[in-house]
């Protein structure tokens, strides 16, 4: 294998991992606040079609990304209303959201099938660093959303662990009653976290239809929303681990095609994220690690203020 091939493969792994990372970060924030949103697949699909449509009609991929974020936010607002406002079950609402998002995106996207996007996002070349051998091409000549995702990951880590907001968010996810008595508005925190998660999921969808594969086809999210749910667990709800995990899973995604020529079934690799997640679940549920790296205590539980 020559260097160019390796660089291209690793590069594609980053591209494949970027939407996974964005959506994973969004879900981490929501789950840290105690709200599980299984509607990621739906939010990504709606984000993809909204992003593609607006980019195509306006000629601006940036407007497309904005539209994708708004699409994700609007779907997640339904989830926020149902699970936080009405205190209904998060699992049911999330699954309904996925089905709704997939169906709605197919309906909206009928006219866009087969139309190419003429205005993709251009890569950004970081001066100086881009000329480094090997890693210059891999890390420093990438699309802007890739950098955005990395910055967001760092920002979320800082917010979660180094700010008052972070303590409030984590408290709401661990023990909402305690947070409430400490003067934290539980519902308010949860709503914002869910909406933020929706925005990132929407952008992840937009990335698929604007950058990764500039076109629209029905079901182009192809189960990535579920991989994200797995990634959140796999990264133990930590945004920095999510960076590593998302690009690792992105790499596996790319390898499906590369290894096919070697006679390895792509189905085998497609199973990997889920197998890895089951292993991660086993680790988190073992009693020894439970105190250190476990799901937020109040995850999935509607909070009833007194």
């Amino acid at each position: 294998m020559d260097t160019a091939f390796v660089i291209a493969t690793i590069g594609r792994a980053f591209t494949a991992g970027t939407p996974l990372l964005l959506a994973t970060l969004g879900e981490i924030i929501a789950e840290r606040a105690g709200v599980m949103n299984l509607g990621i697949e739906g939010m990504m699909a709606l984000g993809a079609v909204a992003g593609f449509g607006v980019s195509l009609e306006s000629g601006s991929p940036w407007l497309g990304m904005l539209a994708a974020a708004l699409a994700g936010i609007s779907l997640s607002a339904i989830h926020a209303f149902v699970t936080i406002g009405m205190r209904a079950g998060q699992i049911v609402s999330g699954i309904a959201l996925t089905m709704f998002g997939l169906g709605l995106s197919a309906l909206i996207g009928k006219g866009y099938i087969g139309r190419p996007l003429q205005t993709p996002l251009h890569s950004i070349t970081i001066p100086g660093l881009a000329d480094l051998p090997f890693i210059g091409d891999i890390l420093f000549r990438r699309d802007p959303i890739f950098y955005f995702a990395i910055i967001i990951a760092a920002l979320i880590w800082i917010i979660l662990y180094k700010t008052r907001w972070g303590i409030a968010i984590r408290s709401v996810g661990e023990n909402p009653l305690a947070a409430e008595t400490m003067g934290v508005d539980v519902a308010w925190v949860r709503v914002w976290c869910v909406l933020f998660g929706g925005a990132l999921s929407g952008i992840a969808g937009g990335y698929l239809s604007i950058v990764y594969n500039p076109s629209w086809i029905e079901g182009m999210t192809a189960g990535r929303g579920w991989i994200v749910i797995a990634l959140v667990i796999f990264s133990f709800w930590n945004p920095l681990r999510a960076v590593v995990a998302a690009f690792l899973f992105g790499g596996i995604d790319v390898m499906q095609f590369s290894l096919q020529s070697l006679g390895i079934s792509p189905n085998l690799l497609r199973m990997f994220p889920y197998v890895a997640t089951i292993v991660a679940l086993l680790i988190t549920s073992s009693s020894i690690t439970r105190r250190h790296i476990s799901a937020p205590e109040a995850l999935g539980e509607p909070y009833q203020p007194r």
Binding site: T163, R164, W165, R170, S171, E174, M182, S287
Partner: protein, 542 residues
């Protein structure tokens, strides 16, 4: 925020009703700077409601709150905190996966946005100098004992500039030593002008620390009294839990305690007559070399052995977390031991075979966590009564439940234990804690078990119901059964038990005779001190 000046607080004519009950009816309450006021009452007397109103958690229907003579209205806990009121809940409002510093930072309104925990260290220093409270900011809350968690709650309130502290049963989770230290902290706080409302149902304790005591009964004010013998008690802080000395040292105390109890329950309590019939000589229950792991895989019970004779109550004293829980769970079949055997009347108990097998062997279990292990909240009282024996006659035949048999048994228990319930088919969750416990005890003791395992049977139960539960345990003993009683209330152990085993770090460090021992001695053993001549390990001949 500036330091508040707290002078006085008055609540007058407070009334609050919930659907079906009047929780507070025309209650008045007051406290001044530097004062400890006791708030005493049985469960359901309205103490929590009154304090939740004061802390802004719920709004009163009627009544007025005046802080430093001017009317105030607390819309939320945050609002109350802004006025210098802090509350330490009985169930701690701490987040176990966070560090101590993070928990404190969450409660501070003026912590910086970035790196909020950075200011905690300095403030903790101030707190430890002023009141003698020490906490480690870097520790994770899940690593701390209940007593230490309590301290964090108090620190949290103090750092929030609380000048009036509401403490909800603060000593229920403490060791005798921790209680002593805590009373020192109380004195430092009152000396600094802080007012303290001390909610409790322990009479001795409140008599020795409070300057006034407000007693609530069934949602109404039963009276506000002053402990008559306050000055004689002041002589030593240790008097609080050294109940034996108190009873003999002054006549006032006994009168006061009785009067206070009468005020609290509204009737004369039966005079406690130990009247222990001597146990018979034959050993009914014998445990040998029992070793049990805790949830985290550490050895919690280390090679423990003991015997209980027919007609005997063996009490187990110890600070919570020293293996009592794992010991009783393994005997009840809920937790497989690593090694060891238990024999009941010469039959080996199948400790590995699960709770059902143990139950079938004639063992009753009153579990520690009554909501988690004792009952199913959404099922009816009647269904809960037949929860354990429902698979066999008379409650079911060939898999079909006989609800008439279940109803008969339930009615018997409800009548005998005076369970306050609207109907025997009412869901369990509608009952108060004390009534739930009555149902559990009634169920467990109904079939005359040979061995009763009781974990904290009167914890959180009001004084009247607790006395009933104790007398039922005594009846079991007098009927020739063996009772294994784990309790954190030394008074209860000294009153009920024929012998008291003390557990510390997973071992039985000694077994004492309550007639010749004292609270002080047992307290020392609980704290790990070696008492010469008391270290009985397995050959526990009384």
């Amino acid at each position: 925020m500036n330091r508040h000046v707290f002078d006085s607080l008055e609540m007058t004519g407070i009334r609050k009703s919930f659907p079906g009950v009047i929780a507070n009816d025309d209650i008045s309450f007051s406290i001044h700077s530097g004062e400890v006021v006791g708030l005493l009452g049985e469960n359901g007397a309205g103490k929590s409601t009154l304090m939740n109103i004061l802390y802004g958690l719920i709004q009163p229907d009627e009544g007025e709150i005046r802080l430093n003579q001017s009317p105030v209205n607390f819309a939320s806990p945050r609002d109350a905190r802004r006025h210098g009121i802090g509350m330490v809940h009985q169930h701690f409002m701490l987040i176990p996966t966070h560090t101590v510093a993070e928990n404190i930072a969450l409660s501070l309104d003026d912590a910086p946005f970035f790196d909020p925990v950075s200011v905690i260290n300095d403030r903790l220093d101030v707190c430890s100098r002023a009141y003698g409270i020490h906490v480690d900011p870097k520790a994770f809350v899940w690593q701390l004992s209940a007593g230490e968690r309590q301290r964090i709650e108090i620190v949290k309130a103090l750092l929030g500039n609380a000048r009036l502290l509401l403490l909800d049963e603060p000593t229920s989770v403490m060791t005798p030593d921790e209680i002593n230290e805590f009373i020192g902290v109380l004195r430092a706080m009152t000396a600094a002008g802080i007012g303290i409302v001390f909610i409790t149902h322990k009479l001795e304790e409140i008599l020795s620390v409070a300057s006034r005591i407000t007693v609530l009964r069934k949602g109404r004010l039963a009276g506000t009294v002053r402990p008559a013998s306050k000055d004689t008690n002041r002589s030593g802080d240790t008097a609080v839990h050294d109940g034996k000395n108190m009873e003999t040292s002054s006549g006032h105390d006994e009168v006061d305690k009785a009067a206070l109890a009468r005020l609290m329950v509204g009737r004369e309590l039966e005079q406690i007559i130990p009247g222990k019939s001597p146990p018979e000589d034959d050993i009914l229950f014998e445990v040998e070399n029992l070793t049990v792991m805790d949830d985290r895989g550490r050895t919690a019970v280390k090679n423990v052995g003991f015997t209980i004779r027919r007609g005997e109550i063996l009490g187990v004293a110890g600070v919570s977390g020293n293996g009592q829980r794992e010991l009783i769970e393994s005997l009840a079949g809920m937790r497989s031991p690593e090694s060891g055997t238990a024999r009941l009347a010469d039959r080996v108990l199948p400790l590995d075979a699960g709770a059902r097998a143990i139950f079938e062997s004639g063992v009753a279990h009153i579990p520690e966590e009554r909501m988690r292990f004792g009952t199913v909240a959404n099922m009816s009282i009647q269904e809960n009564i037949i929860l354990k024996a429902g698979h066999r006659a008379p409650f079911s035949r060939r898999g079909i439940i006989s609800f008439s048999a279940a109803a008969n048994r339930t009615t018997e228990i409800v009548n005998e234990y005076r369970v306050a319930a609207t109907s025997i088919v009412a869901p369990m969750k509608n009952l108060s804690g004390g009534n739930i416990q009555k149902v559990i005890v009634g169920r467990e003791l109904a079939d005359h078990p040979a061995l009763v395992l009781a974990a904290h049977p009167t914890y959180g139960v009001d004084i009247g119901a607790a006395e009933g539960i104790r007398s039922h345990l005594r009846e079991c003993r007098d009927a020739g059964g063996a009772v294994f009683l784990v309790s954190e209330e030394l008074e209860e152990l000294f009153e009920l038990a024929d012998r008291i085993a003390v557990m510390e770090s997973g071992r039985i460090v000694g077994i004492v005779d309550p007639r010749t021992s004292s609270f002080g001695e047992v307290g020392m053993m609980m704290a790990g001190a070696h008492i010469p001549g008391r270290a009985i390990s397995s050959g526990d001949k009384p």
